[in-house]
């Protein structure tokens, strides 16, 4: 074997296995953390440590979520974490698409569950890329022209601005907003499936599960994990889609005040806050 071919072999193996690995670490791990954080909008009411004076269930949830977001935004080297994550996602996506287009689905002829999962893994991959791009572009990079109502998300008013972004306005669903909410619903579902199924196939790829019973057992575990994540994902989307903007904004302002109090720096007022003030006015 020539040296060139040899290095090709090594590179091929490395790329393939890195593709598999990045899907789990960091992307999969981040997905779990992210969904856990976001789903606090549904279960954060349990958090009695959140500012409780005069707060109801939803108020506590909003506060918990805001607390989590603020925590993340105050992490050191946040940019490094973000860049790592983005490049992992980029790497996983580009290679994933390249690999996926090399195959040719045949669920029409072979209607086996595993074959549907194979097809779905690729479909959810394509859709997931699209969704993540939209998600990051609109919320993180501020491409508000893609957001109905033009709401810009702010980490300082995390719940309210996000709710407005996926509802299409600050006072409930608009038609386009409803579509965005549905898009979110599908997007998170796709990603959760992609992750859980990817975790199952990765065990075969790496040679962790060999026997059929082992593959089956691991399949049950992955399905369980997937179901749990799916619940969190749906709870997050439904939670924000049904969130009352006014209520969220009110809670955030309360917390915001506290934060200003703690921080000596001048608070940077987000556009949305100004807007919402105007609406308030």
């Amino acid at each position: 074997m020539s040296e060139n071919a040899d290095s090709m072999q090594t590179r091929h193996f490395l790329l393939r296995r890195l593709h598999s690995l990045t899907g789990i670490v960091p992307i999969g791990v981040f997905l779990i953390v992210h969904l856990t954080t976001n789903s606090t909008i549904a279960w954060g009411g349990l958090n009695t440590r959140a500012q409780s004076e005069g707060f109801g269930w939803m108020d506590r949830a909003i506060a918990t979520f805001q607390h989590e977001v603020s925590f993340i935004n105050n992490m050191p080297l946040l940019l490094l974490i973000e860049v790592t994550l983005w490049s992992a996602i980029g790497f996983h996506s580009i290679l994933g698409v390249y690999y996926a287009i090399s195959g040719k689905g045949n669920t029409g002829a072979y209607k086996y569950s595993s074959n549907f999962r194979y097809a779905l893994q690729r479909i959810t991959g394509y859709f997931g890329i699209f969704f993540i791009f939209y998600h990051v572009a609109t919320l993180r990079w501020g491409w508000t022209w893609l957001v109905p109502g033009g709401t810009q998300w702010s980490h300082e008013a995390a719940s309210s601005t996000f709710a407005a972004a996926i509802q299409g306005s600050t006072d409930g669903f608009t038609a386009v907003g409803f579509l965005v909410a549905c898009f979110y619903f599908l997007g998170v579902s796709a990603l959760v499936f992609h992750f859980a199924n990817g975790l199952w196939t990765a065990a075969i790829t790496w040679g962790i599960t060999i026997s059929r019973p082992a593959q089956k057992r691991w399949g049950v575990i992955c399905a369980g994990l997937g179901a749990g994540l799916m619940l969190m994902a749906w709870a997050s989307v439904i939670g924000f889609a049904t969130l009352d903007y006014e209520q969220a904004s009110a809670v955030e302002k309360t917390m915001h005040g506290e934060q200003i109090h703690l921080n000596t720096d001048e608070p940077t007022e987000a556009v949305t806050l100004t807007e919402s003030k105007e609406i308030d006015g």
């Binding site: 091929h12 195959g103 086996y112 074959n115």
Partner: protein, 283 residues
């Protein structure tokens, strides 16, 4: 539908068909024909009287002796590959009603139980057509050379018995040894695609067939001397990593070979091989 259910569904459907098969009926065979490489293909239909125990081979034999289409047009006998007719040689593999299988074991009673039922026959989809239902599966055999599918014995002189082997290990190896290189696992695999350019065979996905054979030889005491070579071939482009885990292979395998287990096992070998290479490899 789970694997087991899919099996049961298929088997039960076929069994039910067998029970309701009408004696003395005729069945329409819709056959995809092609006169040679790079020639257009066309469909021709034949009405074939079904005798007891008829299968696709006996029906094709009938057509060969009576090559007239349902429209009364005289045509040529259909060309297909066959040999043992006992489902141990792998030759007569084709697509029957869109799915790959051997035609010798395909009982008409199980697929077309009523008068006028239609069965479609097509050549395998992942290999170039030679003529009609006959395809060129040279790539499949080439893949066996790619993974050095042999035990490197010193020679054929008398040198005593081979390595001793436990009963269970033999049973495991026997299950793999039954592979007849028919190509069903490849035709049903979404990752294994048609590749007519011979120069690209070595970098195109090798498929469950050769992966499982690599495991078969790696599991033999003398055969494993070539394990590193096999794992080199399977770690590269078109190797084990191209598997997409659709697992159709194991479901269409007529011999019930545990192909997905072989894929897992070779995946593990590849992982270990890579680690070994990293820490110990000379290159």
């Amino acid at each position: 539908m789970s694997e087991a259910e899919a099996y049961a569904y298929d088997a039960e459907m076929r069994k039910a068909n067998r029970a309701k098969a009408v004696a003395g009926r005729s069945v329409i065979f819709k056959i995809k024909r092609c006169d040679g490489p790079n020639k257009p293909s066309r469909w021709e239909s034949f009405k074939v009287p079904i005798e007891e125990g008829a299968n696709v081979i006996s029906s094709l034999n009938w057509i060969a002796a009576n090559p007239v289409t349902v429209d009364g047009k005289k045509t040529t006998p259909v060309v297909w590959e066959s040999s043992c007719l006992e489902e141990v040689c792998g030759a007569c593999t084709m697509l029957i009603n869109g799915r790959v299988r051997q035609s010798c074991s395909c009982l008409i009673n199980e697929y077309a139980p009523r008068e006028g039922d239609v069965m479609t026959l097509e050549p395998m989809s992942k290999f170039p057509v030679i003529r009609d239902l006959w395809v060129d599966r040279a790539r499949l055999f080439h893949n066996l050379t790619r993974i050095k599918a042999w035990v490197p014995i010193d020679g054929t002189y008398n040198m005593g018995p081979g390595p001793k082997e436990s009963h269970d290990h033999q049973q495991m190896r026997y299950a793999l040894s039954e592979c007849m290189s028919c190509g069903c696992c490849l035709d049903a695999c979404p990752q294994f695609t048609k590749q007519e350019d011979e120069s690209k065979w070595d970098s195109s996905f090798i498929g469950a067939h050769a992966i499982s054979q690599a495991r078969y030889f790696n599991e033999h005491d003398t055969g494993k001397q070539l394990k590193a070579d096999r794992m080199d071939a399977l770690s590269g482009a078109g190797g084990i990593n191209d598997c997409g885990n659709a697992q159709n292979c194991v479901k269409v395998c007529p011999k019930g070979i545990p192909l997905t287990e072989s894929i897992g096992a070779i995946g593990r070998s590849a992982t270990i091989h890579a680690i070994k290479q990293f820490f110990q490899g000379k290159k």
